[in-house]
Amino acid sequence: MRLDDPWYDALASGWGELDGTGSFAPTGPPGPADPRRGHSAADIYLEVQRSEAFQEVRRRYRRFVVPATFAFLAWYLVYVVAAVTAPGLMARPVAGAVNVAMVAGLGQFLTTFLLTGAYARHARLRRDRAALDLRWETQEMTRGAGR
């Protein structure tokens, strides 16, 4: 581990704190995640993967990403299929020269921007801190471990 690790930015200032995810401190009391000599890196990664803290990070990531991906892909496919199969519906006027197709197209832009903002916010507030703690702990454990 390098001390000038670029992860060591503003966020990293409090990496030792617990954030409610039950993450373990690298110098904490011996527990299931204790860095034991003679452990190979493979064992350490398996151990981290099974730890509650990692499961929580993964759960938070998947709970956001999986439904969001299905939602925006479905919305995009509906839009494309409607554009080529239902031109009559898409041509229906809404206001002035603006029709359903124009609203749907600009709606795609809008939902893309909104989802981008929502994802960035979710990751920053709900995931970054816990992931960073895990990163330090894992690197601390794998340091010196045989591979």
Binding site: P6, W7, D9, L11, A41, A42, D43, Y45, L46, V48, Q49, F54, V57, R58, Y61, V65, A68, T69, F72, L73, Y76, L77, Y79, V80, V81, A83, V84, T85, P87, M90, A91, P93, A95, G96, A97, V98, N99, A101, M102, G105, Q108, F109, T112, F113, L115, T116, G117, Y119, A120, A123, D128, A131, L132, L134, R135, T138, Q139, T142
Partner: protein, 530 residues
């Protein structure tokens, strides 16, 4: 188009070339020659810089001139492209950018090979990455040739050929001398120029209509000769059912292909952390989204102010819609304002092409040196440094792209771009997603998934009406057309996913649980990331 445009445009071209060569020299003055430096520019770009560079890497001349031209000719149907190009970034943001940054070093194959038997996986992923890059590169070269010739008025074959050769030579110089650092700065400069040009033109269009978008749409519909049908889908893709399904196939390829483009993936390695990779994608979505919104205004503006018939008369594919619009907005043919705006648009288009081809050349030279050369080298052979191999590979790819660009001069550019996206979505995306998310994925699955997407995609194109069997085909004289669609995505993307699944479940070796744990932990936390 008189001589003034050409002189001024040539001056601006030369200025841009001088600036980019200066960047290349300045960057290369004390280079270390390490792989880290050459492929990833030292990994210390800021998210904003990388966001601009991604936007500069992604927005090709096809989007600037092509999409606005399509809107000017076909109205709403042109917009469908820009929506696909933008929504694709959500796949990149949510599923790919951060995880790839955490797991890989330089290329797509790094991510996959971390879990699998290294050699076969690297050869497979390297091959498909090079295929995608070369297709995309040829598309850009062909586009560059016809575009510059068109903008400068010289439609002769010689002008086009020399443009292709010149663009190829420049990109080889940028990449082999400047590596990722020079490429990134060229892309940033280009993105700023492109955004500035688009903003100026959009503001001028909106000022013409006193900020009334409704009035803009109304007069576009009126001048187009199609009336209100111009503002609804169907003018271009509403014909036969084959054409409609073909468009769905293209739409699928666009939205899933971006996340498999090697030159986009390699951009995430230029920032220090996954968090920075995420923030750079947020920047680039902002830039790309607002750019495509502006192309909509420009396209309808060209229809309203220039007229669809005039656009079509100048270039049947609509590629000159924006330059013609610039001429009108500046005060018309022969006016000083018109001359300046036209030359600026031409120079921006030229800058766009150079920045995009440099990015692709760099990514494909990385695939050749880091994946293919490292895996295929005979054990006893003399060992060259990887960066030296990459520099040579950039030159070889440049020569190959020039050659193919000269041969393929008459191919449709939009089709080539669509094909590159289809191959990326069929061969690269499935293996990437399976490696990152599927516990039971195996080496056999990875290899099958790459070839199971790559081979059908290429075969279906060879059997499509693009290659034979219709008057517009590459070989109009013969007919071995078996597949009705021009874009293979609708068939080859599911095949890529299916082949990966089939390979994994029929594997004789069990999936490596520890390697999966390592990939998952590293992907989501960044532990051990370089």
């Amino acid at each position: 188009m008189n001589g003034n445009h050409e002189t001024l445009a040539l001056l601006l071209f030369s200025a841009f070339i001088a600036v980019t060569l200066a960047i290349t020299t300045w960057v290369g003055r004390n280079r270390h020659g390490s792989a880290e430096e050459f492929y990833a520019g030292g990994r210390l770009f800021s998210p904003m810089e990388n966001g601009f560079a991604i936007a500069g890497d992604y927005m090709s001349a096809a989007s600037f001139l092509g999409i606005s031209g399509l809107i000017a000719l076909f109205g709403y149907d042109g917009m469908l492209y820009s929506v696909g190009f933008l929504v694709a970034w959500l796949v990149v943001l949510l599923l790919v950018a951060e995880l790839v940054r955490n797991c890989g070093r330089f290329t797509l194959a790094d991510v996959v090979a971390a879990r699998m038997a290294e050699r076969p996986v690297r050869i497979a992923a390297g091959t498909s990455s090079v295929t995608v890059s070369v297709l995309y590169l040829v598309a850009q070269m062909v586009g560059a040739g016809s575009l510059v010739a068109l903008l400068l008025g010289g439609t002769s074959g010689a002008a086009r050929s020399w443009t292709v050769i010149g663009v190829g030579a420049l990109m080889v110089i940028y990449v082999s001398l400047g590596g990722m650092r020079a490429t990134t700065w060229i892309q940033i400069v280009k993105a700023v120029l492109l955004m500035a040009g688009a903003v100026v033109l959009t503001v001028l269009v909106l000022v013409r209509f006193h900020g009334d978008f409704n009035a803009l749409l109304d007069s576009a519909a009126e001048r187009s000769g199609h009336g209100s049908r111009f503002l609804a889908p169907g003018l271009r893709y509403g014909g036969t059912w084959t054409a409609r399904i073909d468009f769905i196939s293209l739409g699928l390829a666009l939205v899933l292909g971006t996340a498999g483009l090697p030159h986009i993936l390699s951009r995430f390695y230029t920032v220090p952390t996954a968090r920075a990779a995420r923030r750079s994608v947020v920047w680039s979505i902002g830039l790309i989204g607002s750019f495509y919104l502006m192309t909509i205004a420009l396209g309808f503006g060209a229809a309203a102010l220039v007229g669809s018939a005039e656009v079509r008369a100048s270039n049947a594919a609509g590629n000159t819609a924006v330059p013609l619009l610039a001429l009108v907005l500046g005060g018309g043919e022969g006016s000083t304002g018109g001359t300046i705006l036209f030359a600026v648009v031409a120079a921006v288009a030229f800058a766009t092409i150079l920045a995009v081809v440099a990015g692709i050349t760099l990514a494909s030279s990385a695939s050749v040196a880091h994946d293919l050369y490292a895996s295929l080298r005979r054990p006893g052979a003399k060992q060259y440094s990887e960066v030296a191999v990459a520099r040579v590979a950039a030159a070889v790819i440049g020569v190959a792209a020039i050659g193919l660009g000269l041969v393929a001069q008459d191919l449709n550019v939009a089709f080539l771009v669509g094909l590159a996206f289809a191959v990326a979505a069929s061969a690269n995306l499935p293996v990437l997603l399976y490696s990152l998310f599927w516990r039971n994925f195996t080496t056999r699955g990875a290899v099958w998934s790459v070839y199971g997407g790559l081979i059908p995609a290429v075969l279906l194109v060879l059997l499509s009406p693009v290659v034979s069997g219709s008057p517009d085909s590459f070989f109009p004289g013969v007919d071995f057309q078996l597949f009705p669609l021009e874009n293979p995505g609708l068939v080859s993307i599911p095949l890529g996913f299916l082949a990966g699944w089939a390979g994994a479940v029929t594997s004789t070796d069990p999936p490596d649980e520890a390697k999966h744990a390592e990939t998952e932990v590293r992907a989501l936390t960044g532990a051990g990331a370089v």
